[in-house]
Symmetry: C2
Subunit: 349 residues, 2 copies
């Protein structure tokens, strides 16, 4: 009988903090660039057109003796029943024996590793003295993007919130965001009560905006995280020096920013094939503005193979569609911590 | 918190019997033929060349409100450590909400549903008065193929065992097969002690053979279930009327029977695309002996869309590579029985 650790979303919330999640995701990107990790083909399937879909992301982290997968399902109508629209499970296996090691609820895991991806784009590509951030979208993932961005923007003072369709959603988000951020574990070393984090949040203004042009004029860091299928940020609105972390576009047909922005930008992606086919990048590739040769996998920047921003005026983009290696690296960290802290349920298979 | 039922291999052994497994797999084939079920792309990846690989099979059974996947890993060196070389997990989700319903150890599940597939080929394509069977291969799956075949061959008296490389393996298999078969649940209705099954086994002779030509001359039903990469059954050895259930070939490069046998045969498969690319069928397609148009999905036979054997002399082949819908249909049955019998562990996610 094989022991398998089962970890619920509540278990993950106890274990996982932003700082370590970012470190795990950076490691995943670097391992990929160094060929110490490999993605398997993405499975992405409609279950009920426009109402439900699911994807399976899988891969192997050779250096961590781990392989596995994550299935995430989106069921739009769940909201009407008061149920979460996103659910999923990750299964983590031992590369020495093929035996399963853990089964992990993928909700908080996905939220945290996706937030980490956006922040890594900012940490390595945005100007280091940026004091303001624009976030588009007011869903759950926007909260995690902001939490992770704050942790990598030491001078941050203003966060502009924009909803491309409803200003009211941005206003409502503004009124609740501090409380939501307060519940996310940041793990500033030596601060077990998240005290410094709460203090830091108090020093930041969150401002709902009805026209994004104005906010873009006052900031150089943008995170896009809506399910939009047409652009709502145009190239003539962009200040020199702006960085984009593009998170929302992760399926064919999705788009948040004008494809012309790619023309003059340095474009980094988590995975070239996936970004070109389902990420924000798909649109500029389809219109022939750039081709795959313009894309650099961010792991090559993190491991020092290439450089990122070289001037105050560079436009930079990090297009993250989310890859299995993020899930595997973070899951491995979760499993180690769960063993240490004796968290989770062990079942025998 | 979502309740998920966790079912170990021991749980499955209590729940699952051959008769109901065959019924579930027949249903899966029919649903596929009727477009009430759909396979997602197969993921099949090497983890360490020649030593370890894994595949992920996934799909949806619309009529059963179920979707899900199974990951199975093969680690050849495990045997040296006294560990099983095959392990895996199935994850079953509710198509109404996307929530996970159960996580199932895939070992016994896979063994049983694969045995059922071979038997379905025999049940619908072999001559009904067949008294003898040849089984090639002496691994675990050979045991399940024999168990399931016995349940669909009422007149069976002789089972010839052949190993293409080592006669000693066939001899050893012969000496232990009755005991192994005795532990498999057949579920002849009203026979809770498997008494009739044990009696039936006593009436069958198991005979190791060193030359398969002789055995082929005395039987019309063949199950191939080795990992061979070259043919060891040749077309000029085949009697008219012979049926083949081809089980072993499930990866590129595998082959058990001479591709020329396909020339005059009626060929049924579980999935046309999968059989042509990784099944026994791949070899006859590659050599141009047949093309995909010659292949009929077995679900179309089971639902009455087409016919199978039309004469005593037909050569028939069922090439089964194993599809996710078998796992989903059998898993659904397992989950229902587990609820009824209160078997398994429930964890809250």
């Amino acid at each position: 009988m094989i022991p398998i650790r089962i970890l619920s979303d509540d278990d993950i919330k106890v274990i996982l903090d932003i700082r370590n999640t970012i470190a795990c995701v950076e490691k995943a990107y670097i391992l990929k660039a160094n060929n110490q990790a490999r993605l398997f083909p993405l499975i992405s399937e409609d279950l009920s057109e426009g109402k439900a879909d699911m994807d399976i992301k899988s891969g192997v982290l050779y250096s961590d003796d781990t392989f596995g997968l994550k299935l995430v399902a989106w069921f739009g109508d769940n909201i009407k029943e008061g149920l979460p629209s996103l659910t999923g499970l990750a299964m983590i296996f031992d590369l020495k024996t093929g035996f399963p090691k853990a089964i992990i609820n993928a909700s908080h895991l996905t939220a945290m590793r996706t937030g980490a991806a956006g922040a890594i784009g900012i940490k390595y590509l945005a100007k280091h003295d940026s004091k303001a951030l624009v976030v588009t979208g007011t869903g759950t993932q926007a909260v995690f993007q902001i939490a992770a961005a704050i942790s990598v923007m030491p001078l941050l003072k203003k966060v502009y919130i924009y909803h491309p369709l409803r200003y009211q959603s941005a206003e409502k988000f503004q009124s609740t965001i501090k409380e939501k951020l307060g519940t996310i574990k940041i793990d500033i070393e030596g601060d077990p009560m998240n005290y410094i984090w709460i203090q830091k949040l108090d020093s930041i203004d969150f401002i709902a905006v009805d026209r994004i042009e104005k906010a873009l004029n006052e900031t150089e860091v943008v995170i896009t995280v809506t399910p939009s299928q047409k652009p709502y940020i145009f190239h003539n609105w962009i200040r020199p020096g702006t960085h984009f972390s593009c998170i929302g576009a992760d399926m064919p047909g999705k788009q948040e920013i004008d494809e012309k922005i790619f023309d003059a930008a340095k474009v980094f992606v988590d995975d070239i094939h996936q970004a070109s086919s389902v990420g924000e990048t798909q649109n500029s590739i389809k219109s022939g503005i750039i081709n795959e040769k313009h894309l650099i996998e961010i792991g090559r920047l993190l491991n020092g193979d290439t450089y990122g921003r070289t001037s105050e005026k560079d436009i930079t983009i990090f297009d993250s569609t989310g890859i299995a290696l993020q899930d595997l690296a973070v899951s491995n960290y979760i499993i180690k911590k769960a063993e240490e802290l004796k968290i989770g349920t062990t079942v025998y298979f």
